[in-house]
Amino acid sequence: MVSRLNPAWQRKSTSSSRLAQISARFLGTTQAATHGDDVCRAIPFLLDTPEQHWITDELGQILTQRGHPCTLCSPSEANPIEHSFRQAQAAEPPGSDAYCLLAVACPATLLKYGVDHVVLLVPASLGGIRDAYQRIKLLSQHGAPDIGIVLVGPRDQHAAWRYFRKLAVGTLRYLDVPLLNLGFLPEQIGPGQDAEASHRHNFLARISERLLRSGFYSTLTMTTPRRNA
């Protein structure tokens, strides 16, 4: 019987190289943490511009409020600079519920880390999703991490879905990379708008919920002491 699926939704056949990638990822030897390193659950974010840092800042605060102590980490392997949202917990070692958010604007930096999960903050525009596609293409050529998408600035839920679908169909069709829809932040909300704070909080809370529920994190080692603001 001939497939009636839209060609856009048809996945490429599983190739031996893809199987090799999967095998290497799940069966390969993992790098052991050296003595004195902190092993932490890191959620890597690939920002479209550095100005998007407010999103990760507020997500960190929300995760902390939800009982997951959260730190922000710089991308430097040699000396991660971390900012604790809760100074009272600064002296505590990272527990099982703790996360650190790693936000960078340069895909090459993430590639150096070898992370296996990445959240892309994607502007809701044709150019934005085209750029995101190129970044995903680059990431998929170096380790194929799981990729989650947050659309930034769509008019409403329907527009967010249209942009996500366009990107997800493209990555599945041409790269064989499925995407996880982590939510969106509509155009009406932004940093520093106190009147929209609760509205913004709701959208970010939904994203944090999806991150937690899907176990979307990488395990990284941090080699330096934590820094508190």
Binding site: P50, E51, H53, T56, D57, L72, C73, S74, P75, S76, A78, N79, I81, E82, H83, A103, V104, A105, C106, P107, A108, T109, L126, I129, R130, D131, Y133, Q134, R135, K137, L138, Q141, R162, Y163, K166, G170, R173, Y174, T224, R227, A229
Partner: protein
């Protein structure tokens, strides 16, 4: 009073660091704040904030100018990537997200210094001498002026922010789209 000035021995890294801490306003102007006297990056540079709230990375080596320059460039790349967090951690930057600047100091200017200066507008190069003035140790800093062509270019063309460089570099390595992919992303 009669001044007795003579050259002093080459300092070690920590002596040089102490002298540079006292000379921060000479390096990045009046109103400079010291954010970190020792970052645990290659070369253990210092981090300052100038009066315009730019983070200023000071990379120095007592002897090896190439190492100071390379460590500094690497550090600036890390700073660019970490700019949101740097701004959050150091309140004196007031969340302005200004692009970082780089100051490189060594006993001599690095090879190709003029060309490097021409290509990196956020870079300042200094060489130093250690002097003994009436028995007191003093630091003498000589700034390498940018080439005239660069000065003329700055007047006629908008200055490129240092922070733009890593972004461009990252875009350079993005894989190109095939014809099919380009066609697919032509419309929503």
């Amino acid at each position: 009073m009669k001044l007795k000035i003579e050259s002093a021995e080459t300092p070690d890294r920590e002596q040089l660091r102490s002298l540079l801490i006292e000379a921060t306003e000479q390096l990045s102007g009046a109103g400079t704040n010291i954010l970190e006297t020792r970052l645990r990056w290659d070369g253990q540079p210092m981090l300052l904030a100038d009066a315009n709230l730019h983070p200023v990375l000071v990379s120095f080596e007592p002897e090896h100018s190439e190492a100071a320059l390379l460590n500094g460039l690497r550090g600036v790349e890390q700073l660019c990537n970490a700019l949101p967090w740097i701004n959050q951690v150091y309140e004196s930057l007031q969340q302005k997200q200004q692009p970082p600047k780089l100051v490189v100091i060594a006993r001599e200017f690095p090879p190709g210094a003029s060309a490097v200066l021409r290509l990196c507008p956020g870079l300042s190069l200094y060489r130093y001498r250690l002097l003994s003035v009436n028995g007191e140790i003093a630091l003498w800093l000589e700034h390498l002026d940018p080439p005239p062509a660069m000065l003329a270019g700055q007047e006629s063309a908008p200055r490129q922010d240092a922070a733009a460089l890593p972004q461009e570099a990252s875009n350079d390595i993005l894989p190109p789209l095939t014809d099919a992919e380009s066609a697919y992303f032509q419309q929503l």
